[in-house]
């Protein structure tokens, strides 16, 4: 793993509705550096600002103050250069497009020629094992398959950075574990940098090289846990004592945060 910094978040604040009397301090003094090829999870209770931080990184929301640098440029520039791939909690596929044309979308927006983008999209569908479904429409797929399509879509323009906001949150536990493994396999084969938002302690531990724990009101980085379990991680990893230990470590850190701020 190289040490080139891909995302550098420096003392970022975000206040919603700053002037109104319902102002919410969603982020406060966030400092975070993410290196190339890392798999970083943002973990924390609901409302602690995980999504907001991700959206600020992706230039979907402007920060109130502070500085964000992505690949040595501004987040806006990075977005316009199409450095990002994004995956959300819901697949958000366009129901009027076939699976293939959904995956093509980012390339179409970027103006890539038809033949070329088709080939590229087919490759991505192979990667997520959905080649047989390219002519299907989203509603003909199960939720898990749809989410795999949306991952393919995010990867299709070979983004340097993959930003994922609870991409597996809507799936049941069995499907979820299966897709976690898939995700690691894809990450391994594409070598992108991943920032991954989740509520689930075990998910964060299983996937990440680093877990960033956030605390709410205002959203702050409450701690970082390095997860030194070796990759590739498999079904066996989940039953290993080292895994349980990490889970316990993260859980303890998180509960400390919760205790500090008053409970749910």
């Amino acid at each position: 793993m190289s040490n080139r910094v891909v995302i550098d978040v420096d003392n970022v604040d975000k206040v919603f509705d700053a002037s109104g009397k319902n102002s919410v301090a969603a982020l406060q003094g966030i400092d975070l550096t993410i290196d190339e090829g890392e798999f970083v999870s943002l973990l924390g209770p609901s409302g602690c600002g995980k999504s907001t931080l991700l959206r600020v990184m992706a230039d979907l929301t402007a920060s109130t103050s502070g500085r964000i640098e992505v690949n040595e440029k501004s987040a806006t520039q990075a977005r316009q250069d199409r450095d990002y791939g994004m995956v959300f909690q819901q697949p958000g596929l366009f129901e009027w497009r076939s699976v293939l044309r959904n995956v093509e979308l980012p390339l179409q927006v970027a103006g890539v020629a038809k033949e070329q983008r088709r080939q590229r999209a087919q490759k991505m569908l192979e990667l997520v094992h959905l080649s047989d479904f390219e002519r299907h429409f989203p509603w003909q797929l199960s939720g898990g398959m749809q989410q795999r399509v949306s991952i393919a879509r995010a990867l299709t323009s070979a983004p340097k950075i993959l930003l994922m906001d609870e991409p597996l949150g809507a799936l049941d536990e069995m499907n979820r574990e299966y897709l976690q493994s898939e995700l690691l396999r894809i990450w391994d084969s594409t070598k992108t940098t991943v920032v991954f938002v989740t509520h689930s302690i075990s998910e964060a531990v299983f996937l990440s090289s680093r877990v960033v724990i956030m605390s709410p009101r205002p959203g702050r980085v409450a701690g970082v846990v390095e997860v030194d379990l070796p990759y590739p991680r498999t079904a066996r990893t989940r039953t290993s004592p080292e895994f349980y230990d990490k889970v316990t470590e993260v859980r303890t850190a998180l509960h400390a945060v919760l205790a500090e701020t008053e409970t749910v």
């Binding site: 992706a58 316009q80 250069d81 819901q90 958000g92 009027w96 980012p106």
Partner: protein, 289 residues
């Protein structure tokens, strides 16, 4: 030949229509027979039936049907039926033009409202108010405006029809354009799509089902608009004018008015069914809700 799936609503609507025709005829004749039997009062009372059942107020269904094959007027060998269909076609052409115009204006307005929130805030109440203006009242003036601009009367009628049609289009189209979830909007932004791309690739396709919901309402409205417009347009054309004429001649041939009203209703219904058909065809790949 197996009926294609998108066509089934259309076919079943036709089936329904004939069902309604049979039941309607039976009710009409039943009520008439009842009234004739009791002398137009509820039996055993002197309370009048709400509608008297003589042949002037309620001609027999078969005389209405028979009038359709009789010549429409002295010395002309075209039947009332084909005359009415001809006239209904004129009205439908005006309605169609009105619907197109209304849809164009409605969609443009919806896009403007989407992009400029202040314009929406300022104009939306007046768009609602526009529909409470009695169309019949302004139609004659619209005709004058059309004449001043040198437009043929048919176009003026279409404009009046468009006035009623654009409203459901704006409302539904705006709702449709705003319907994509945040996730999809964010996705387009994250891949640096331009406003135009976002409109073309996301908002428009997402709005299509809403547009069609609006079109169905707008189609009915456009027929009403065309009929009301014809009352004032002075072209002498269209089923609206025919209804008016036959109203004038009601006492000498009530069945003609009924025939005209029936054909007008049929025209409106068929028109909307065509919208359904187009919808089924265009959205056949979408999930059924």
């Amino acid at each position: 030949m197996p009926v294609r799936q998108w066509a089934t609503p259309f076919v079943s609507a036709l089936g329904w229509f004939f069902g309604v025709a049979v039941v309607g005829t039976a009710l009409w004749e039943g009520y008439k027979a009842f009234g004739q039997l009791t002398g137009d009062v509820f039996p055993g009372t002197d309370i009048n039936l709400p509608v008297s059942t003589d042949d002037l107020a309620m001609p027999h269904t078969w005389s209405i049907a028979a009038s359709l094959i009789e010549p429409v007027q002295r010395g002309v060998d075209i039947s009332l039926g084909s005359y009415l269909v001809q006239q209904a076609m004129v009205t439908l052409q005006e309605s169609f033009a009105g619907l197109l115009l209304g849809t164009l204006v409605g969609v443009l307005l919806a896009v403007v409202f989407l992009w400029f929130g202040a314009v929406r805030q300022g104009l939306m109440p007046w768009v609602v108010a526009s529909q409470t203006v009695p169309l019949v009242a302004i139609a004659p003036m619209v005709v004058v405006w059309g004449g001043q601009l040198g437009l043929p009367a048919g176009i003026t009628v279409a404009a009046i029809s468009a006035y009623l049609a654009f409203f459901p289009i704006v409302i539904n189209m705006l709702r449709g354009l705003q319907s994509p979830p945040t996730i999809q909007v964010d996705l387009m932004r994250s891949i640096a799509a331009s406003n135009g791309q976002s409109l073309r690739m996301l908002r428009f396709p997402a709005a299509l089902p809403y547009l069609f919901a609006g079109l169905r309402v707008a189609a009915t409205a456009s027929v009403i608009g065309a009929i009301v417009g014809e009352l004032s347009a002075g072209t002498g054309n269209g089923i609206g004018r025919v209804i008016l004429n036959f109203t004038y001649y009601y006492s000498s041939g009530p069945e003609k008015l009924y025939a005209a009203v029936l054909v007008a209703s049929l025209a409106g219904i068929v028109f909307v069914q065509f919208i359904h058909l187009a919808e089924g065809l265009l959205l056949r790949r979408r999930p059924r809700s």
